[in-house]
């Protein structure tokens, strides 16, 4: 069997847009809703798109062979997190910055439910990166540590994160989630075009 989890040395130039989450848990499925929209609308040539669902450790295999991954996922922000530049979606009315350098007037603040936050994964601290490592509950932090232990080189990972407003059994996004999708898709396209 070919071992595609091994370290292949040089990074590939290929890019993957990967949405993850549980489609049945409301805003937890944000990444999957985003992937579905991107599939309908199309992506630039040379960019692959995947619905990672709740694949857990499969994500290591999904990311293998790519130089860069744009990951769309629901995020939980630590209580003592520093203020960042974040955006809240307002559907047809577009989006606005609600903090950080991009804001005009608003004071920077920690991301709140309904916000979209873009960051490079290696610039943040991952909370609780391991102890409850299991099959469904695989945290990305746990996966990164596992990859490091196995000396698997991972791609550069940019995250388009959404702070969920409603986690409940539903295959639809909350109103805040629906509005934020537009912002998230715009950020994904900007990342792919190298504008972020």
């Amino acid at each position: 069997m070919v071992d595609r989890t091994r370290d292949d040395g040089a990074r590939s130039s290929k890019t993957l847009v990967l949405g993850i989450g549980n489609l049945l848990l409301g805003d937890e499925g944000f990444g999957i809703h985003a992937v579905r929209r991107l599939r309908d609308e199309g992506l630039p040539d040379g960019v692959d798109l995947e619905d990672g669902g709740t694949g857990g450790v499969d994500l290591l295999d999904r990311m293998a062979g790519y130089g860069r991954v744009v990951l769309i996922d629901a995020i939980r922000v630590g209580r003592d997190s520093a203020p960042v530049s974040a955006e809240a979606g307002f559907g047809d009315r577009g989006s606005r910055a609600v903090g950080g350098a991009a804001s005009e007037g608003d004071r920077p603040r920690a991301p709140a439910p309904g916000d979209v936050v873009v960051f490079r994964l290696n610039t943040v601290e991952l909370e609780n990166p391991d102890p409850r490592f299991s099959l469904h509950e695989t945290s990305l932090g746990g996966l990164l540590r596992l990859a490091a232990s196995l000396r698997i080189q991972l791609p550069e990972i940019d995250v388009v994160g959404f702070v969920p407003a409603a986690i409940a059994w539903s295959d639809a996004l909350s109103p805040l989630g629906s509005a934020a999708i537009e912002v998230a898709l715009a950020r994904v396209r900007e990342l792919l075009a190298g504008r972020v």
Binding site: M1, I20, G53, R62, I75, S81, L135, L146, P164, W169
Partner: protein, 428 residues
């Protein structure tokens, strides 16, 4: 036995949130509980009002580990409600998918959740540091199930082409050959897996209980079958409500379930105890080489039964490939509904028998759904085993007893499917 208290909030390495509470005073167990939140009840509400042809794709999203299993129970219930009888080739392909999923689920449980106990580490991550080849092997075997699912059902997880009446797309012969090759190539990794787990000695614990699993003529039943009990009764899946009863227990959000005895076990050990004569040769040979003779009455041997089932499913999957390849000239046609009524389906998923039950209205919409998951069925039995284990370990240090209890719960491979997987971050 002196008094002690054990309070494990959130057992590690089980799927979802489970708490263990034990209170022993003057040698008497005053309190002993396993609390696991059972979520699929909410999922049933989600199905209500949906058209029959939406149910399979919704159920495929419940879980990333046993998506095929949930889909199977769902389409079996739907087909029963719709008056559809799938053709033999459809059944063969479904069985092949189930084999792939069972291999990957058991492998992950054994390597990621069970093995760390035997290597005396807290999780698979330190294990990856000290034994990288072991963890890489697990990841390769895990991938096997995903690849089979992708080739045959359109996606690595959460299949999309598996529907009531058949498959949205029938695989080409070369694709089935590819699956066969993937399986054959995995043999050395499976042999190494057997060698590794042979060396792990399961803790001792004996307690007689009832085992419930599906039984089908001429095979080790996974896909579907009649409901069989080690206490002797065999009845069709539609009788599941007569066979098992749920009861509310004050200490748990999840209901407890009983069949003929006060509690029963489902899962790999129950299947093996009921169907061991139908194991494929390699699986049967390894079981014998391990010196084990069914019925396996030690619950820790659910781990061993999973190992045996991995080998069985491997051999069975190759057989399914060969049978499908032999059906030259077969043209797949989706079967269409002949009625809208009520139907129940039962399928063996990695953790045990799963029941889905749908009632459709005159427009084919689901008006009522019922779903009984394996972990819910095992809860009462796990608690009964915990009682026995606490008694057996009397006089030992509480930390040791706690570890034994956690290993016991893990051996059942309990799972709830609502676990979220947020990326938890702190901006600095």
């Amino acid at each position: 036995m002196k008094g002690y208290e054990i309070n494990v909030h959130h057992i590690t390495r089980v799927e979802g949130h489970g708490n263990v509470v034990v209170n022993v005073r003057d040698g008497r167990i005053e309190d002993l509980r396993l609390e696991i939140v059972e979520a699929p009840r909410f999922f049933e509400v989600m199905l209500e009002g949906r058209k029959w042809d939406e149910a399979a794709s919704i159920t495929a999203r419940i879980c990333g580990i046993c998506a095929i299993g949930h889909t199977m129970a769902s389409i079996l219930a739907s087909e029963d409600a719709l008056g559809i009888v799938p053709d033999e080739e459809t059944k063969l392909l479904r069985k092949l998918l189930i084999d792939g999923e069972t291999i990957q689920s058991h492998i992950l449980h054994l390597y990621f959740l069970v093995a760390p106990d035997f290597f005396n580490v807290g999780s698979v991550i330190p294990l990856a540091g000290t034994h990288p080849e072991v963890v890489k092997r697990a990841l390769r075997l895990k991938k096997l199930g995903n690849e089979i699912c992708e080739i045959l059902a359109g996606r690595k997880i959460h299949p999309i082409g598996v529907l009531p009446g058949g498959f949205a797309r029938w695989p080409l012969p070369e694709e089935i050959l590819r699956v066969r090759k993937i399986l054959e190539d995995a043999r050395p990794d499976l042999e190494a897996t057997v060698e590794l787990f042979k060396t792990l000695k399961m803790p001792e614990l004996e307690r007689k209980t009832e085992y419930v699993a599906l039984k089908a003529p001429g095979e080790y039943a996974f896909y579907t079958g009649d409901i069989a009990s080690s206490l002797g009764k065999v009845t069709p899946p539609q009788t599941y409500l007569d066979r098992i009863s749920e009861r509310v227990v004050s200490h748990s959000a999840a209901k407890h379930v009983k069949a003929q005895a006060e509690s029963y076990a489902v899962g790999a050990r129950a299947r093996l105890n009921i169907n061991h004569e139908m194991l494929r040769p390699w699986a049967k040979g390894v079981l014998k080489a391990l010196g084990l003779k069914p019925p396996l009455t030690n619950p820790f041997h659910n781990n061993t039964a999973q190992l045996i089932e991995v080998l069985h499913c491997y051999e069975n999957a190759i057989e399914m490939c060969d049978e499908l390849l032999a059906r030259k000239g077969y043209v797949h046609r989706m079967k269409q509904p002949t009625k809208y009524g009520r139907g129940a389906g039962a399928s063996e998923v990695p953790r045990g028998v799963l029941f889905h039950d749908y009632t459709l209205d005159a427009d084919g919409r689901i008006t009522k759904a019922n779903c009984i998951i394996p972990t819910g069925q095992n809860l009462a039995n796990i608690e009964a085993d915990m009682h026995t284990l606490v008694g057996q370990m009397a006089g030992r240090e509480p930390q040791e007893i706690q570890r034994g209890l956690e290993m016991l719960v893990r051996a059942y491979d309990p799972c709830i499917s609502c676990a979220t997987h947020f990326l938890e971050v702190r901006f600095v």
